[in-house]
């Protein structure tokens, strides 16, 4: 099973590739909505990518109030 740090690294790499933002620009405590500039449709798309990549189910409400990569990685980790 992935460690939290591995989950976080994979999450940021996935976000970097999918939203075409250089990985060096992403930090664990960044607000990913702002950093990636994603809208509501892209948020759904991100959810699908995360579920597929980590092979988990991530209910939408688990993303509510979560804006930084580290907290999102923790939510994913709890479902691995």
């Amino acid at each position: 099973m992935l460690t939290l740090d591995q989950t976080l690294q994979q999450l940021m790499l996935l976000a970097s590739e999918h939203f075409k933002v250089p990985a060096s620009q992403l930090k664990p405590d960044d607000d990913f909505f702002k950093t990636l500039g994603i809208n509501s449709l892209q948020t759904l798309d991100l959810l699908t990518r995360l579920e597929s990549h980590f092979n988990v189910e991530l209910p939408d409400y688990e993303l509510q109030g979560v804006s930084d990569f580290r907290t999102l990685a923790e939510r994913i980790q709890s479902r691995l």
């Binding site: 909505f33 699908t48 409400y61």
Partner: protein, 267 residues
Amino acid sequence: MTPFDGKTLSWKLTGQVFELALHRQPCNEIGSASLEELEEFAVQLKDQASEARVLIIHSQLPAGFSAGADLRETYRLLQSLTPAERAAGVRNFLERIHRVFNCIDASPLITLAAVHGVVFGGGFELALTCDMIVADRSARFCFPELRLGLIPGFGGIPRLKRDLSNSLVRDLLLTGRSISATKATAAGLVSQLVGQGEALRVARGVAAQITKMDCNATTAAKRFIKPIPYEELRQEIDLFCELFNRPVVEAALRKFVESSDVQPYLP
């Protein structure tokens, strides 16, 4: 048959395959204009029953299949009507949309929904009228109505119950969460899961296969295995109308209309 190209949708007949394409920006929200054209489509669907064998419903918009009812129009109408007019208006709208959806559900044609992206609320309900759902991997299915103080009103609950286990139906309704096409396939809702952008092409392949079968047999098989829950559909309209005329619904609609949240479908 002459192809139709309307404000919100278009249709054409190619060989024995009837295709209905949704194209109302931004994501095929179903309001009064869509309903009027869907009613015209329902007439055509009955008229084409002797020529066409298969119907494919799909969206031409990148955002998805359909985001469901046009909540902005609903909110505007609420503002301009008295409570009595609202009650009559919402019942009339539901009766009309149910007639269209029941017509698709009961059509002797074999019906396919080719979906991608957003398949929410009324859009999900439209897909559920079809005999099969072909979904690309971007599709997400959701019934967000409870966050408005409502239930799905276009026949969603009885039709979802027809196809899925009651526990997942409760989960989807009561949490308002969306599920991926992969999850929907595992649950038995989606019959064919395909790559991104491939749903319509694959649906056309399914249609070509179906047209090789004897038409009397396909229609008989459909009638035999897909009962239409008319009584529950009627009860759903009554329950929706009972819930609709409350201040909490108007407040939730206002919140949605004014929202800039990236997850506006969540409470």
